[in-house]
């Protein structure tokens, strides 16, 4: 049986983490291909429902990453996002949804190496956790 290859969706802001991931590329730092990035203007824009959708569609893990505090391109979008994640994470945890599979991080435009590290450690952590069976098994046909 081939080793489990987790699928990780990354929601990142355009100004820090997306640019940081670009720098990872220009620096030719290699990392695991299991992650795919969706670009947002700001972490403040990221709707919590998208995380649920990602799990529902088969993501095994999620990375959310934006500018460090005080570095937000829009001054405070990341602060709002941080509050949202504090609450959302608490709620998911309370419902038994595996918050270990959601990695939040601040990666600046200068932190190309950090991006590679965030991706690699998340991929490895999720690989250890295995496929997100709970969500895969959940009924979605419904009683018609």
């Amino acid at each position: 049986m081939p080793e489990f290859e987790p699928r990780i969706v990354a929601f990142v802001c355009n100004w820090c983490t997306y640019a940081g991931a670009d720098l990872t590329g220009t620096s030719r730092i290699k990392y695991s291909p299991n992650v795919e990035v969706i670009r947002f203007p700001c972490t403040g824009r990221i709707d919590f429902m998208l995380l649920l959708k990602a799990f529902a569609e088969g993501a095994d893990g999620i990375i959310i990453s934006g500018c460090h505090p005080n570095d937000c391109h829009y001054t405070s979008g990341n602060f709002h996002a941080r509050r949202r994640w504090i609450l959302f994470r608490g709620l998911l945890d309370f419902m038994g949804i595996d918050v270990e599979r959601v990695q939040f991080s601040w990666v600046s435009a200068a932190e190309g190496a950090k991006w590679a590290d965030v991706v690699n450690t998340t991929v490895e952590a999720v690989r250890k956790l295995g496929p997100y069976e709970n969500f895969r098994k959940i009924d979605r046909a419904g009683a018609v």
């Binding site: 602060f79 709002h80 941080r82 994640w85 959302f88 608490g90 419902m95 038994g96 595996d98």
Partner: protein, 267 residues
């Protein structure tokens, strides 16, 4: 009760309000909401232990709004709802009369939102011991047990949206579940959709829920929705020191922030 009836009659007679939203006797031992528009019907108003429904829900209903300026018989959660609705610009100072009957038959009439704020600042919000026990039980479970618990609850959900209907803060004329571009919540009732609906409902009430408990009581299959609300209420209080329904101005946990908010979960 006499005080309340007297006051309601006087308000209607003087034309100060057009309708008194209060409790009347229902079938069996249940109280139901009644809308008293004529002074002579003021005696139908009751207030006792059966009167639990949060009547503030009617303040944002179009049908009720069209009746004219209301007076509302308010329990503690209803008072909070009034402030929260004011903070969300759904009702305005002077646009309603708030009457809070005490268990002893006394009656407080709040003239201003500020008076309600002052009153609430000193009022305790008792939590039902059985509900607290359930909360403690769920919290003590392992993540996997919690998942099974909630999957069990949610699989019984029939997406009837009674919880939404009963909630005084769910006053949006078009709920996100009715949005189909994109279709955030699947239309049919299945575990995934039910889960998404319930998470969304809880998050949309985060920082706004006044913990009246009407959603749980409305649920025909008995899902303990109050648990979800209270987890968020607790997190908001412990992390941000905010509580919904305590101020008549915007004090929304999710549209404010503090530079030093917790971030021990962020790399």
């Amino acid at each position: 009760m006499d005080e309340l009836r007297k006051k309601a009659r006087a308000l209607l007679e003087a034309g100060e309000v057009r309708v008194v939203i209060g409790y009347g006797g229902g079938t069996g031992d249940r109280a139901r909401a009644i809308f008293v528009r004529e002074p002579e019907r003021a005696d139908e108003l009751i207030f006792d232990g059966r009167c639990r429904q949060n009547l503030a829900i009617y303040l944002t209903r179009r049908e009720v709004k069209e009746l004219g300026k209301p007076a509302i018989v308010a329990t503690l959660p209803a008072l909070k709802t009034v402030l929260q609705l004011a903070g969300e610009f759904q009702i305005a100072e002077g646009g309603l009369v708030v009457l809070a009957p005490g268990a002893d038959g006394s009656l407080i009439e709040f003239k201003t939102f500020a008076d309600i704020e002052k009153y609430l600042a000193g009022a305790a919000s008792p939590i039902d011991p059985a509900e607290q026990a359930e909360m403690d039980r769920v919290r003590a479970m392992s993540p996997d047990e919690r998942w099974k618990y909630w999957l069990g609850q949610i699989s019984r959900c029939i997406k009837c949206y009674a919880c939404r209907q009963a909630c005084p803060m769910c006053y949006c004329p078009r709920c996100t579940v009715e949005c189909n571009q994109p279709q955030w919540i699947p239309v049919p009732s299945h575990e995934l959709g039910n889960l998404e609906w319930n998470v969304m409902r809880a998050m949309h009430l985060a920082g706004r829920c006044v913990d009246c408990g009407d959603c749980s009581r409305a649920c025909p299959v008995g899902i303990p929705l109050y648990l979800l609300n209270r987890v968020l209420i607790g997190d908001i209080e412990s992390n941000f020191h905010q509580r919904a329904g305590m101020k008549a101005e915007v004090d929304y946990a999710l549209s404010t922030f503090h530079p030093d908010d917790r971030e021990n979960f962020i790399r």
